[in-house]
């Protein structure tokens, strides 16, 4: 059977210059969604696989989705939905069309700066491994990939994922190839139309972002302004600013929780 690589993209209709309503003419896909498609197309060429683009998007998005797929995708599943749906619901609907995919590629941000949680819900629904913020592939093995992942402060780490996996890539990873004139004129992607099912009544509870509570900090002591700044920033303190600890993963997690609790971030 021909393997299938899934790609999830989010269509965003943007504001026109003159009017007040979201306008399909100005719609786009994020650079990272486009990168996800390009990476999938490259992998499909290596693996003789088919690429299936899946999107929960309004009817107005159809022509844009078809134009996107003209770059070389073989199938388009357009799950028609107007208005907003929760990330969990969107992921659940996407998953119905991705169960036969060993790998699913997403962009790691959408143009409306959504929560970015759809891939996580998708991974959970499909029971797949997940990696975010991917900027490169460092090694390809049989059923696994070593991925270069961006961390804060310019650092990188390499993560290994085993199929099935859901990957979110950054826009810098690849530039989507231009569709040929022939495929733009005569789109060949097989279009599967679907509609959004009612959200399940199963409640996942209320989610809200974690924001540590403010802490009262004593005014810094010192004769001069410089002394007070030094005190406030702990510039002269012998206190350790960083430490390298080598522990087993479970112990490391426990250590982090203890430190965060000690510093007042967790109660």
């Amino acid at each position: 059977m021909t393997p299938i690589i899934g790609v999830c993209v989010k269509w965003i209709g943007s504001q026109p210059t003159s009017g007040h309503e979201a306008d399909a003419r100005f719609a786009q896909f994020s650079a990272s969604d486009q990168a996800a498609l390009e990476v999938s197309l490259q992998r499909a060429e290596q693996q003789s696989a088919r690429v299936r683009v899946v999107s929960v998007a309004p009817i107005a998005a159809r022509s844009h989705l078809v134009a996107l797929c003209a770059s070389g995708a073989h199938e388009l599943v357009h799950i028609a939905a107007e208005g907003q749906s929760s990330s969990a619901h969107v992921a659940h609907e996407l998953a119905q069309h991705l169960r036969d995919c060993a790998s699913v590629w997403c962009g790691d941000y959408s143009l409306d700066r959504g929560s970015g949680s759809v891939p996580a819900f998708l991974a959970s629904t499909l029971g797949a491994q997940q990696a975010l913020g991917i900027v490169g592939i460092s090694a390809t093995n049989n059923n696994s990939l070593d991925l270069l992942r961006r961390l804060d402060a310019g650092r990188r780490e390499i993560v290994r994922v085993m199929e099935p996996f859901i990957i979110s890539v950054e826009g810098s990873m690849a530039t989507l190839r231009r569709a040929s004139l022939a495929s733009t004129l005569r789109p060949t992607a097989n279009i599967i139309e679907a509609s959004l099912a009612e959200p399940s009544t199963l409640s996942l509870g209320d989610f809200s972002p974690f924001r540590p509570r403010p802490r009262t900090v004593k005014a810094p002591a010192g004769e001069t302004a410089l002394d007070r700044i030094k005190a406030a920033t702990s510039a002269n303190s012998p206190q350790k600013h960083s430490e390298i600890v080598t522990l087993a993963p479970e112990d490391a997690a426990q250590y982090i929780v203890e430190r965060l609790t000690e510093w007042g971030y967790l109660s």
Partner: protein
């Protein structure tokens, strides 16, 4: 077999009317546009006179995306400290079948292109035509585009790619180009509430105003304009290229100068600039028109310099729509007769000659040069406004001077020779009379 009967390059007003006309005959037509959607790349001052659409879209006014219907037209003369306006208003222009309307190009062009698509045209956006394909005899048989495998063939190609048409130039249809034939149009869209616009411009509902301005361009030959949209104004200047290049002010500074004039400032006060755009205008009319057709190729709209820029008139969209439609009719006839050579396409020229497109251009052929001349630009506004000031200025205990005396004194003061005045009056009369 070619890929299409006709390929139309550019989904501006010329291209979409061409594609719509062809699609209606059942022939296959591809409309290729470089922008992500029709109108996305296009700008103009803001008033369209769509009467010609009666032939293509009956009762177009019921569906065309309009900002306001123009019911007031003003012509304004400005010197640094004076202004004189001739103001005309017609209630009839506010009702069907209407006259002119302000409209945004991303709305108008997109609407017109969709009409062509509904009729069966194939619209391909985000695709730039990079050249023409010719056969061994030099006849045009298709286009190259910037997409992979981007060649496309057709029996006829219609170049509607706008001012400074690379396709017409590439094919040698502009034997001589001259920067003096072009003006640069620059425009600010200034957001203001509908109520304020209604009050300042004395209009109601969807009535709108078109103000054409002579002077106010910081000494650079050209003109200005103000058009009312629903909740914004289009304020801009049109500047003769060599004159613009010969001085140091930037176009946006020239607009700022216009906006600060005592006659203009109260109209734009409190508005927010929400958009700035610029575009060339083929200004020289008949004088700069290229060869209009060749074997397998027709050129229409601004690509063929068909914009009419004659002082009180700045009309390009209607000329583009008409020429696009006529080019399409000629292409269809040629295909049906199996002869797409220049001779087979010659109906195009005839249709242009028989209608307003070339008739207006012929009649007004001297107008662009006259309107942009130094005397009309710098001396006559000063002469006319000073004469009017002399008439209305009360200088008691001196008695009122006669009009002839004021005119003579002012003419002398400004150093305008009678012979030049007479020459310009004759040219003006021949053009506009």
């Amino acid at each position: 077999m070619p890929d299409f009967d006709v390929i139309v390059v550019g989904a501006g007003p010329a291209g979409s009317c061409a594609a719509l006309t062809i699609a209606r005959t059942g022939k296959s037509v591809a409309l290729i546009e470089r922008g992500p959607f029709p109108g996305s790349k296009n700008m103009y001052g803001g008033v369209v006179y769509p009467r010609i659409l009666d032939a293509l879209i009956p009762e177009w006014w019921n569906e065309m995306p309009v900002q306001r219907w123009v019911t007031r037209r003003s012509t304004m003369l400005l010197t640094d400290t004076q202004s004189l306006s001739i103001d005309f208003r017609s209630d009839a222009w506010g009702d069907a079948p209407y006259n002119g309307a302000t409209a945004f190009r991303p709305d108008f062009d997109n609407w017109l292109a969709n009409k062509a698509v509904e009729a069966g045209a194939t619209l391909v956006c985000s695709t730039t035509v990079t050249g023409l394909i010719t056969n061994a005899n030099g006849a045009v048989i298709g286009i190259h585009t910037d997409r992979p495998d981007g060649d496309l063939t057709a029996s006829v190609v219609i170049a509607c790619d706008g001012v400074n048409s690379f396709l017409a130039k590439e094919h040698g249809m502009y034997p001589h180009t001259d920067a003096a034939h072009f003006t640069l149009g620059v425009k600010e869209t200034i957001t203001l509430s509908k109520d304020i616009i209604d009050e300042r411009f004395a209009v109601r509902g969807n009535q709108g105003v078109d103000i054409e301005i002579l002077g106010g361009t910081s000494g650079v030959n050209g003109g200005g304009f103000i058009y009312t949209n629903l909740d914004s104004l289009s304020v801009g200047v049109v500047l003769k290229l060599p004159k613009l290049a010969a001085q140091s002010k930037r176009p946006e500074e020239i607009i700022a100068g216009l906006k600060s004039h005592s006659a203009i400032a109260p109209l734009v006060e409190g508005g927010t600039v929400s958009e700035y755009s610029a575009h060339l205008i083929p200004e020289a009319g008949l004088k700069m028109m290229p060869t209009l057709l060749d074997d397998g190729l027709l050129v229409a709209g601004d690509a063929a310099a068909m914009c009419l820029a004659a002082g009180i008139w700045l009309e390009g969209v209607n000329f583009a729509m008409a020429s696009g439609m006529y080019a399409a009719q000629a292409a269809c006839e040629a295909i049906e007769k199996g002869n797409t050579s220049a001779k087979g396409l010659s109906l195009y020229k005839k249709l242009l000659e028989d209608t307003f497109v070339l008739r207006d251009h012929r009649k007004l052929r001297r107008a662009p040069q006259l309107v942009l001349s130094d005397r009309v630009q710098h001396m006559y506004p000063a002469l006319i406004t000073s004469v009017v000031q002399g008439m209305f200025h009360v200088n008691n205990p001196l008695p009122k001077p006669g009009l002839r005396k004021i005119l003579k004194d002012e003419r002398r003061r400004l150093g305008i020779r009678t012979i030049d005045l007479a020459k310009d009056a004759i040219t003006g009369f021949r053009s506009f009379g």
